[in-house]
């Protein structure tokens, strides 16, 4: 499997580490216990397109949000996690 790092280009999966679901969001400050359990433990785990976090640890050290089909391992999109988070942050702030 190969991931295209937006910064480094197409690389073998051995350069990356996986962190899982990129759709969950860390609850804010005093969220409910339930919200925390959801965030830390519960996953959609879909068969099909999956948004997930990868870390280009052996490369540019960027965290990436990757859209990958869990049935075929085909990757349709890779974005820098920082950019995704920043966009959301701005949205949240606005």
């Amino acid at each position: 499997m190969r991931l295209t790092c937006p910064f480094c280009g197409s690389r073998g999966v051995e350069e990356f580490t996986y962190r899982g679901d990129a759709t969950v969001r860390r609850p804010a400050g005093e969220a409910s216990a339930e919200a925390w359990v959801d965030y830390v433990y519960l996953r959609d785990n879909p068969a099909g397109p999956h948004q997930e976090l990868w870390y280009h640890g052996a490369g540019c050290r960027s965290w990436l949000v990757v859209t990958r089909d869990t049935r075929t391992h085909q990757i349709t999109e890779v974005r820098a996690a920082r950019a995704v988070a920043q966009a959301e942050h701005k949205e949240g702030a606005a």
């Binding site: 499997m1 190969r2 197409s10 073998g12 999966v13 580490t17 962190r19 860390r26 609850p27 400050g29 969220a31 216990a33 925390w36 965030y39 830390v40 976090l53 870390y55 640890g57 050290r61 960027s62 965290w63 075929t72 391992h73 085909q74 990757i75 820098a80 996690a81 920082r82 988070a85 920043q86 942050h89």
Partner: protein, 1009 residues
């Protein structure tokens, strides 16, 4: 030829079966080899199989279960029968297919799975019991008495298991790996592959052409075919030369593409030196390629199918196409008098080639009714009797074919004497690479073949692999595939001029077995899977017992599970099952084909990283110096660290470690602690960032001070700890444990890039930048005074415990000094640029000598941290909480930090959780062992009384006693209590008192001294 005749040939060693014109051998040169200890000769270009056949050797091996005598079935990698142990000693290679083992001078091979000899094999008796030993028999018996399985039955079964023997010693050869990138990967260099490579290569695309054989050409070398009115193999050689001249084309012979992986990655194995007596110095035996290709053209050809009939496994029964290969490529006639048995026109060509080579054709048996196909014509041309609509019902001969029984269209039995039976059940396209991503092929009734339906992205199939069987068509098809693949990569491509090929008929009528009308009792010797001895009868039995899914059939009978993975047997089995269950072949479906397409040596998949080089070694800056001191090293993750420094006269390690500890506690010692992770953190939000990743407070940490920090995981359990020092308003340097250095870095990046992108902060590892050396002991300051340049005030007031600062040492070397103590003594960590680490160690030895300085290793470090009750790896094992480690009160309630919320869950705050304590045996000589469990004194040794465990233990020379750290339920409330340390593995129980985990200097006077 009779058996007697053959053995006389053996005795003389004359290759009596050579005929003229082998296009792939160098008949002018001779190569010697041995098989089962006998000497033979062959030519460069021969395989072991072709050379044996040239000598009339038929018997090559024994089958797996019934130990039936087996010969050579094929001329390629699909060979199920002729498996040998190649080479000897540590290079012994079991299960090597004689049909692809290239001959080299001195080659030595031995038959396998037989005892005492190939010709007489005691376990050949198994065949007599075949009706008992049918499919799945072992599931039905060997159950009584239960204890007999391991003692009696299994050892018996295991005696019979396996074929060849693995070497007894480590593989002496090297392996290598490499990655290659291309636009177009072409798999196979038959007419389709060559045309594809030419079309793509001429467009300027980067092309890799992989051919598992030693020569390019595919079937063009195997056939007596003409292209442009010249032998077809000459055309192959011309194309090869043309390709070689193209700068962006790379031809890789002896390279098998064995697997299709995700994202256009292909695995390939290059056999660099398997055709040589041994690899040249420094060279690998084999090389594993990871090929990254934008497009892949699978032009892997097809494999011929045997026909299922009684006795079809007798040595001398061969695939028709293989017979042609031996004739045309190797110049070997595998027999003197042959019968051809076919259901298709391609098989008939064998009769023509045989006749041309002077082999008499005893009969042509064609399953098709009179008038279908070209049999009559061919028979006339060979002067052979022609039997249309006929079937072979039995084979005569045990060690070799001596004749066949044929039932003709009228139902009459006829016998023909022969020493060779060439059979063709049609061709199965080599589609393995198209299925590795889970795609299932579909059945084509007209071609009698499974063809790929869906393909992995970027893959196309061409030539016989795509069911395009004629040479002219394969050429065209391959060229088109090459053009399209190049275009898909953005190149302008056009079809190359293709040679003229004579028309060739591929007409076929389905024939998978000759059993119609044969009493089923005789199916027993009608083999479907040769190597695993699966007969038509086994297929029927499995179906009767309900194993009617092809995947069940496979697993129940082991059909297709041998080293050949059913390349010659799967389709016949499917067809048989379809017939028995009255389904169509397509509906019955195939089993899933998995990588590798050909078995791959485990050594090659491992590559160069073996032995001491299994993993890279990280060497601390003082490594060379420590070596010179005679240090004993230990692996700490990838790091090699000095464990202790033995001195003359010390007889065991404990003595050494005790001395090192005493030196530190009594005078001064030093230890390289470079391996701790060091992360440089800078930015306006650095303090805020630390607040969020550590449980404790950071904003108020003064510049020039360090603080101990604890990190949790988001699930509330402890993750890592270390000290972080503030060097300026916006600049910190964090230390992590050695084990988690990489993980913490990734964690910080995660927090920063994903959780809190609004924080302005930067990280970089400085682990390797600084040689960090702990100098510890009452004399530490005194010694340091000789190292740190005089301008710097080292006094306790100016540079107290937990101070951090930038200094210069040894006359101007920029350094960092931290007053930290893991040992509990007056201690410093001095960091100098890594290049000076070695010199600093030497300097410390020099200037410290008057004070009795000694280096200490990780073992003494560990003893002292246990004496001080500092948690380390065994306590920070991912299962403990801050509370468990006695650090519950560090958790700030005034801020959010990673893990804060989950750390509050009931089960994490339960006071009964095992919590850090010290353990001191009542008898100081009683050894405390890490991993012993803590039970109330006098309680029975059962799990119900289990209240904790010893996490770390050491002999404390300071206390003159063994001591331990443990996690004990309700621990802090139990100081003073006596508990029992149970170690049933060693059969010991040690009584110990629960004490504070800080054994030495609990007030901390020394560190402040």
């Amino acid at each position: 030829m009779t058996d007697a005749h053959m053995s006389s040939a053996l005795a003389t060693g004359v290759p009596q079966h050579r005929v003229a014109g082998g296009n792939g051998i160098d008949a002018g040169r001779t190569v010697r080899f041995t098989f089962d200890g006998r000497q033979y000769t062959g030519h460069p270009g021969d395989t072991l199989a072709s050379a044996l056949l040239a000598h009339g050797v038929r018997l090559a091996g024994r089958s797996f279960k019934y130990h039936r005598p087996r010969g050579i079935l094929s001329a390629g990698p699909e060979e199920p029968n002729a498996l040998v142990e190649l080479r000897t000693g540590p290079r012994r290679e079991p299960n090597t297919r004689a049909t692809v083992a290239e001959l080299y001078e001195g080659l030595s091979a031995a038959s396998q799975n037989r005892w005492p000899s190939l010709a007489f094999d005691a376990l050949g008796m198994n065949g007599l019991f075949s009706s008992v030993l049918g499919a799945g028999f072992y599931y039905k018996t060997f159950m009584w008495p239960a204890a007999f399985w391991e003692k009696v039955y299994e050892p018996l079964i295991r005696k019979a298991a396996g074929l060849g023997r693995a070497a007894d010693e480590a593989d002496p050869d090297q392996y290598e790996k490499a990655t290659a990138f291309c636009d177009v990967l072409v798999v196979g260099s038959g007419p389709a592959g060559l045309a594809a490579a030419l079309a793509a290569g001429r467009s300027g695309a980067r092309v890799i052409l992989c051919e598992e054989d030693s020569l390019t050409g595919g079937r063009l070398r195997a056939e007596s075919r003409q292209l442009d009115a010249a032998p077809a193999w000459r055309w192959a050689e011309q194309v090869r030369a043309a390709l070689e001249a193209l700068p962006e084309v790379r031809i890789m012979e002896r390279t098998c593409v064995f697997g299709t992986y995700d994202g256009g990655t292909y695995g390939a194995l290059e056999r660099v030196a398997d055709h040589l007596p041994q690899p040249a110095k420094g060279q690998p035996r084999q090389r594993l390629w990871r090929i990254v290709a934008r497009q892949c053209i699978v032009a892997a050809g097809a494999v011929e199918r045997p026909i299922v009939f009684s006795g079809n496994d007798t040595p001398g029964v061969m695939l028709a196409g293989a017979v042609r290969t031996y004739l045309n490529r190797f110049g070997v006639a595998p027999g003197r008098r042959a019968v051809v048995y076919t259901c298709n026109d391609d098989g008939l060509r064998t009769a023509l080639d045989l006749a041309r080579a002077g082999v008499s054709v005893a009969a042509i048996v064609d399953s098709r009714p009179e008038g279908e196909g070209q049999g009559a014509q061919v028979a006339r041309a060979c002067g052979a009797p022609f039997l249309p609509g006929a079937a072979i019902t039995a084979v005569k001969g045990r060690m070799a074919v001596s004749g066949v029984s044929v039932r003709d269209a009228q139902g009459r039995e006829q016998r023909f004497a022969c020493d060779l039976l060439a059979m063709s059940g049609g061709w199965s396209p080599n589609i393995a690479l198209t299925t590795h991503q889970g795609m299932r092929p579909v059945y084509d009734e007209a071609l009698c073949a499974f063809l790929p339906a869906a393909l992995p992205p970027g893959m196309v199939v061409a030539g016989a692999a795509a069911g395009v069987f004629g040479t002219a068509e394969a050429l065209r098809n391959g060229a088109q595939a090459g053009v399209r693949a190049a275009q898909a990569c953005g190149f302008e491509a056009e079809q190359p001029a293709l040679p003229d090929a004579e028309p060739e008929s591929c007409a076929i009528a389905p024939l998978f077995h000759a059993l119609a009308g044969v009493p089923s009792a005789r199916w027993a010797k009608a083999f479907v899977d040769f190597q695993n001895d699966v007969t038509a009868k086994d297929v029927a039995l499995a179906a009767r017992e309900g194993f009617v899914s092809v995947e069940h059939l496979k697993r129940y009978t082991t059909l297709g599970m041998a080293t050949d993975q059913g390349k010659t047997s799967n389709v016949n089995a499917i067809a048989l099952l379809a017939e028995i269950t009255q389904r169509a072949i397509g509906q019955t479906g195939t089993t899933l084909i998995r990588p590798p397409t050909q078995p791959v040596a485990i050594g090659a998949l491992a590559g160069a990283h073996r032995g001491q080089h299994f993993k890279p070694a990280r060497l601390p800056p003082t490594h060379q110096w420590a070596e010179s001191q005679g240090a004993v090293f230990t692996a700490n993750g990838l790091w090699q660290r000095a464990q202790w420094y033995p001195r003359p006269g010390e007889t065991d390690w404990l003595q050494t470690v005790n001395r090192e500890v005493r030196t530190v506690r009594g005078a001064v010692g030093f230890c390289d602690v470079t391996t701790l992770g060091k992360i440089d953190i800078q930015g306006p939000d650095a303090a805020e960032f630390l607040e969020r990743v550590y449980v404790n407070a950071w904003k108020k940490l003064p510049i020039g001070r360090a603080r101990y920090g604890l990190m949790l995981r988001e699930d509330g359990f402890a993750y890592d700890d270390g000290t972080t020092a503030r060097l300026s308003e916006t600049h910190y340097v964090m230390t992590t444990t050695t084990a988690n250095a990489g993980g913490v870095m990734a964690h910080l990046e995660f927090c920063h890039q994903w959780l809190w992108p609004e924080l302005d902060v930067q990280f970089i590892s400085v682990t390797d930048e600084w040689a960090q050396i702990a100098v510890a002991g009452p004399q530490a300051r005194t010694v340091l005074r000789h190292v740190v340049d005089p301008a710097f005030d080292l006094s306790n007031e100016a540079f107290p415990y937990m101070a951090a600062g930038e200094v210069t040492v040894c006359g101007g070397v920029a350094a960092r000094l931290f007053r930290l103590s893991f040992s509990g003594e007056l201690a410093y960590e001095l960091a100098v640029p890594a290049r000076y680490g070695d010199a600093l160690a030497r300097r410390l030895m020099e200037v410290g000598a008057p004070y009795g300085i000694a280096p200490y290793g990780t073992e003494a470090l560990g003893v002292m941290r246990i004496e001080k009750g500092h948690p380390a790896g065994p306590e920070l094992n991912g299962q403990t909480t801050a509370h468990d480690l006695g650090m519950g009160r560090m958790l700030s309630t005034r801020k959010d930090f990673i893990g804060r919320h989950m750390a509050q869950r009931v089960a994490l705050t339960d006071p009964a959780r095992p919590t850090l304590v010290g353990l001191q045996p009542l008898n100081p000589a009683d050894q405390v062992v890490a991993g012993a469990h803590l039970l109330p004194d006098g309680a029975p040794a059962t799990a119900a009384s289990d209240q904790g465990w010893v996490s770390s233990a050491a002999f404390s020379p300071t206390l003159g006693s063994w001591i331990g750290l443990g996690l004990l339920s309700n621990g802090p409330a139990r100081h003073g209590e006596i508990v029992a340390l149970h170690n049933p593995l060693a059969g010991t129980v040690v009584r110990a008192r629960v004490v504070s985990p800080v054994f030495v200097d609990p007030e901390g006077a020394r560190v402040h001294g």
